[in-house]
Every structure is written in C-alpha cells, then in structure tokens.
Subunit: 447 residues, 2 copies
C-alpha cells in the first residue's frame, strides 16, 4: 500500500502541469508541504520540472531545495538568480544552510555568502569549518541554555519571556558560567516538578555530549541506542556549541541506507532519475567499464583452456554454472559481513568464528549442489566424469566464495575502500577466476 | 571512523567472557546501555552468548531482547523460563511488548499473556489486533489528552499533579468530550504562551491524524516529511487511540533499509550471524537453488548452439561478456527504479519518460562498449567479424537490459512481488538469455 492521497496529489499536479494549466497547479501546491513538492519535482521530467519550479512559492523555495537530491538541486539552482538564492537561504536552519551552501557551485557560494547578513555569515562559517558528515556539520546553534543553580520557576519565567522555542526542543542544556556542558533539563521534567526545585536537582547527564568531529554514523547510532530527540555538541574544551536534532539524524540514516543500495550498482544516492541522458550515460559507463575488465579477465582465463574446450564442447555449455553459483554464495556472505561491520558486530575476537562458520556453510552447500549438479549432468549428457568434475569445482568455488566474502570487507575496510561499493566486483572477479580455473583445469587434467 | 569507545567496551566484554572472568564481564556490563549489550550479544558466538545472557541484569532483559534481531532473540528466549519471560515483558512499552509477544513461539505467547495482569493484557490485545507493520501495531497508548476549552494554567497544574510524562512526549493531544481528535498542543507553545491563554487558541492541526491501518512505510514518510517527534493515531471514528513516537519510526526506517540490502542476496534482515550452521545453510541453499535454475537455463541456451561453438571456439571464450555487461547495465536501471518506487517518484505520468530515458542510456552505452569490444576482439583474435557480432549483441542486450530493468519492478509491484527480492534474479535471467541468443545466434547466422 502506498500513500494514496499524496500520490494522487502529485499526479494531479503533474497532470495540470502537462496540460499547461498553471493556475490549477498553483492551487494544488498551496495545500502541499515542501517535502511533498520536492517529491513532485523529483518525479517530473526536465521541462515540466522547470515549469513547476517557476510557479512554486518563493517563500518555501529554500525548504524545497533542502528536500531534493543534490543532482536535482543543481538543476533547480541553475534556474535561479542570486537574489532568489539569497532569499531561499533565509528560510533555512543553520545546518541545512551549510549543506545547501556546500552543494552550490563554488563561485555561487561566495556570492551567496556575500549576500547574507554579517551575524548569519559568521555563524555559518563556524558550521562550515566542520566536515559535512560530522556532528559539527549536522548541528544547529539554536541551543537554549540554563544554569544549574536556579529554580524551575526562574526557568519557566525565562522561557515565557524569551518566547518561541526552536523546533524539536525537547530539553534545555545546563551549562556553567564558562558555557561548559554540565547536563540537560528535559521539558518533561520541567513541567512535572514543583517550581521551587533547583535545576541541578533534576538535570541529568544521560549521554556524554557529542564532540564536534564525531562522525555522522556514530551520531546516528547514539540517537538510535538512546532514543534521543536532540543531543548536545561540544568543542574540545567541553563548551556547548550546538545541538543535533532527530530530524537531521533521520535524514542521515535514510541517506546512508540509500547510498549502500545504490553504490552496489555503481550509482550515487543523489542521482536524479531525470538527469540529462549524456550525463547519466557517462556516469554509468564507468561502472560498466570496470565490470568489462573482470569479464575480459574471465575470457582470458577461458582462452587458456581453448584446446580442452575444442575437444569437449560440453564444457563450454556448462562452464558458466560454477562461477555463477560462486558469485551468489559469496555475495550472501559478503552482504552479511558488510552489514555486520556497519552494526559493529564484527571484531578481532569473533572473526575466526565467523570465518569458520561461513566456510562450513560454503562447504555444506558446495557438497549439496555438487551432488545435484553431478546427477543432472549425468542425466543430461550421460557423462559421469564431467558430472564429477563440475561437482568438485562447485565445492572448491563455494568454499573460496565464503572465504573471500568474509575476508574482502575486512581487507577493504582496512585499506579505506568502501566494501559496499567495490566488494561485489572484487568478489565476482575472484569467484569467476577460481570457478573457471577449477572447472576447466580439472577437465583438462582428467579428460 | 567507528565508535571506538563502544567497540572497545564490547571487545573487552567479549574478552572477559572468553577468559571466563564473569565478574569482570558483569562490571563492564553495568556501564553499558541495553542497546550496547544487545550489540555485544549479537556479535558473540553461541557459547559465549549464552554465558553473557545468563549474567545480564534481569532488570533490563526485556529492553535487550527488543534490541536484538528476531533470530538472535529466539536463541536467547530458548534459555529463559516462563517467569523470566513475564518479568522481561514488564519492562516494555506496549508497542515493543506487542512485537515481542508476536515473535515468541505460539505456545509461549499464550503462557506469557496468561502471566500478565488483566489491564495490561487487555491493552496488549488491542494493539495485537492491528498488523505489526501498521500504525496500530507501532503505537503506544500512553497519550496525554487535554480539552480545548481550558487555559494553559489548568493544563500546567494538571501535568504537575499527574507527575511523570512518558518518554518522547513533545506534545499533548486535544480531544473533545467523546475522545475525538481535534489537534495538538506542543510543550513548546505551552511553555512560551501566557498562562491565561485557552488551549484551543494555540492548539494546531499540523497533520491529519494517522489511521490505525496506515502502513508503517507511510507512517515513516509522514514523520520524515513533517519532521515529527510524535503523531496521533485514530480509529475509523476519529477517536484518539494512541500515538507513535520517532524512536519506533527510526527503527522502521533502519529495518526497511536493511531488509532491501539483505533481500538482494536472498537473506533476511533478522538473520543471526551466528545462527546454527545447518539452519543458515538450509536458508541460503534455497537462494542458490533459484539461481542454479537460471544458470541451467543459460546452459540450455548455450547447448542450442553447440554446433557453432564446436566450429568457432573463440565464441566460447567471449560468450560470457555479453550477458555480464547486460546484467550490470540492467541492475543499474533496476536499482534506480526500485528506489524511485520507494520514494514515490514514479507514476503513470512519467513512466514513459523514464523508459525512454533508460533505453536511450542503454543504447548510448551499448554503442560505446560495442565499439570498444569490437576493437578489442579484433586486436586480440584478429577477427573483425566476431568483433562486429559481439558489438551488435552488446547493443541489443544493453537496450533489453534497460527496458527490463525499468519494467520488471513495475510489473512485480502490480503482482505483489517485492522487486528488491526477486528483481535481480529475474533481470539476470533475461539478460543472460537475450545476451547469449543475440551473440551465439548472430554468430550462427553469419559465421
């Protein structure tokens, strides 16, 4: 089941656009949330997308831009002039603004920064100093701080005088007179304790504050493990410099998950499904090229056995089965281990256990499918010998696949290569070569 | 960079366990959060896992059980007696409890239910009436409701008298005298407006309340689009029956993402990396069997061209290149379209645009790699004809791959099959067969 209402909405929107009835489209958009308009934009081909973007409400352009992928954003920004861009930045939270500015072409970045007010620019530059994927890059500076030695009554009066609180404020931060982080005071406790309680009596320190250079993956894990809505960020001197909120963490989680699926196919999570055809072709060609190299390597291996293939053409008919089964078995182990790494389940202590286990599974499945394949080949070609050969090759390849599937992610991680990106190709290269050499090599020796 | 501290903690824990120093392990665990202990349990081989589980603090057993995967949970529950199980359930939120009870073996479920207090059981049965993956299955019943016609002062006094608020309470729910949902009052507004304001003056209705049968995917989208911390759930008569909180939604997002990666390799997100070897072998064998069928189909196709292969053994050397490139190109389109479906980016209106685009990219890359391959084959084997043949076959197969990659997820979705699970196999079956028939067929006709 899909969100029917929303789908229908964006469908009618798309319909009004393609029918050219701009006023109808405008009316529909009024009822839509920026995130929904962003979805609609992403699902429109270039021409219609431009039409929709031109009629969208400038008041929410900034928010819409934050919701679309990098590549779509580029295509939208290209249609905006500087004034529109600066106006759009004014709607954004500091962390979103930093992401946005970083995704602009360099020359535009400088212009947008120059167009901003001084205070905003200084705050922005502070966030820009941290890597985009660190706690510092994710944080906002909209912290509300209180001191520990006042009563809740003082805090309540302060809040009411202060007026509006930033979104996702579920707790206030307790700091000392130097701005150093001491603990947190949740609104829940503030509302349920008697007003003459001291802040320090009910403030807590549930988690250690996040250091600004903590990675976003670690930030996400902390939020998930402790079910946080917001978390404090401190500098190296333990001074509170900002807070991270769950909505940004949800985006991190979603993006990391998408990236791991997309990178397995050599794609990028920010890819626009309606990017210019030449641009997409060029990007994908690279991945095809890498894979052509492994296919050619396999061909080269086969070529070493040309003589045997000429004698026994049945081998040519069957030779793709062994590499293919190895690839599948290996990718099962690979996927499991990559996930185990992401969840911190794998370490020096259990690596041997894991390896033993995977190789044992490879052996069991190797024997199972070896027997089945041998029987099938015997039935199909009436040739017991080739049946035995393919069976033996399957066992060799499935055990190799298990070993490679478990070790590759470890080795890649140590070398700083993303196993989700390169693991699959590396694995199939190994299973192709080992499978072909085992099958054709045994055949050459025996037949 | 990984969360070093945590890793180190669970490593020392694992070390103390394997060294048999139970008291050291106990001491380390005292400083750990249930989620961290769950990670440690998941990363331990069976024997050590049982040791750790036996010494873990019964007070948090329930929370730990909620954090581990289904398969690991089963292995832990097997070591608990009924009394321990009932004690564990007492620590859980209603929605977690429902998930937990549903994951128990059937006969245990009845016993655990019987061991619970009557009120708890009745509430639990209400949640159990909804599918696990619906808003009703995700919700808790710990809502705090207020009426619209009272002042904030009344609300504040009510909250203080009431005491403790449930976790993740960022807003109260405004209902009429029949318990029908009217709107929400955020704690932020409650704290910043003057105490004589009427609730109805500042209460909002940002989103439509979620119906109990809304799917969890739709719930997650609503939370993401509107940056929610909690959302109301109503029955068909608009009566407020519970609320969903962001921590549970984060779990949904994480799980869906994991599932899509795992199912591509025929695995399940709940799989335990240290499940018994036979059990894992059996599960994975099924996927290998499915893939063997497609490999055998490819072999059968090759067998139809045995005569040609016997004449020109070079074809055998090269024939795996065409299916392999088709598989890669197709999986790029497939991945993009499956993601587009998940993000609701694809609908009837843009399907034709998308298809045209993908086929055009396939054609462009087909031509590119056809020229390269033709040249390579000419250089390698000095055979212009085979070069032309493999080039033509590549173009045919890459265009087919694009078409299949775009259409398969559409067709599968209509048939109620998960494209992430079955799309890859179906696609490679097509690209294998089409690639081989194109290459060997053309060769048979021309050579």
């Amino acid at each position: 089941m899909e969100p029917e209402v929303e789908q229908k909405q964006s469908r009618t929107l798309a319909e009004s656009i393609s029918e050219g009835s701009v006023s109808a489209a405008r009316k529909i958009m009024l009822a839509m949330h920026p995130a929904e308009i962003a979805d609609a934009l992403e699902s429109l081909p270039p021409v219609q997308r431009r039409v929709l973007w031109n009629i969208s409400d400038p008041e929410i352009d900034g928010e819409i831009l934050m919701e679309v992928g990098d590549e779509v954003r580029e295509s939208l920004v290209r249609d905006m002039d500087l004034e529109e861009l600066v106006a759009a930045t004014e709607q954004l939270d500091l962390d979103d603004l930093a992401d946005f500015v970083q995704s602009l072409p360099e020359q535009l970045t400088a212009e947008v920064l120059a167009g901003m007010g001084r205070q905003d620019r200084e705050r922005l530059e502070q966030v820009l100093a941290f890597p985009e994927d660190s706690a510092g890059g994710l944080m906002n500076m909209d912290v509300i701080t209180v001191r520990g030695d006042v009563t809740l009554d003082v805090v309540l009066r302060y809040l009411r005088r202060r007026g509006e609180m930033p979104k996702q404020t579920d707790r206030l931060w307790v700091v000392d007179r130097y701005g150093r982080y001491l603990g947190e005071l949740s609104l829940r406790l503030l509302l349920t304790h008697s007003t003459d309680t001291l802040v320090s009596d009910i403030s807590l320190r549930r988690i250690e504050p996040l250091l600004a250079h903590t990675t976003q993956r670690e930030v996400a894990r902390t939020f998930e493990d402790f079910d946080l809505v917001s978390a404090p960020v401190v500098d190296d001197n333990n001074r509170l410099i900002g807070r991270i909120t769950i909505d940004d963490v949800v985006d991190v989680i979603r993006e990391e998950a998408e990236q791991s699926v997309m990178s397995m196919a050599g794609l990028n999570k920010e890819d626009d499904i309606f990017a210019p055809i030449f641009k997409s072709s060029r990007k994908r060609a690279l991945w095809l090229g890498v894979n052509l190299l492994t296919a050619l390597l396999a061909s080269w291996v086969i070529a070493q056995f040309e003589g045997t293939l000429e004698r026994v053409v049945t081998l040519a008919v069957l030779m793709s089965v062994v590499p293919s089964m190895g690839g599948i078995a290996g990718s099962q182990t690979l996927t499991l281990v990559i996930r185990g790494q992401a969840l911190n389940q794998i370490n020096k202590n259990n690596l041997r256990d894991l390896l033993t286990r995977e190789v044992a599974i490879g052996l069991l499945n190797g024997v199972l499918w070896a027997v089945i394949m041998a029987a099938l080949v015997w039935l199909w070609f009436g040739d017991k010998q080739i049946g035995m050969i393919i069976g033996a090759a399957l066992i060799v390849n499935l055990v190799t696949a298990a070993y490679a599937g478990a070790m590759l992610p470890m080795i890649m991680k140590r070398l700083g290569i993303d196993p989700a990106l390169a693991g699959g190709v590396a694995l199939t290269t190994i299973t192709d070569v080992v499978g072909l050499v085992a099958f054709l090599g045994l055949a050459t020796l025996i037949l």
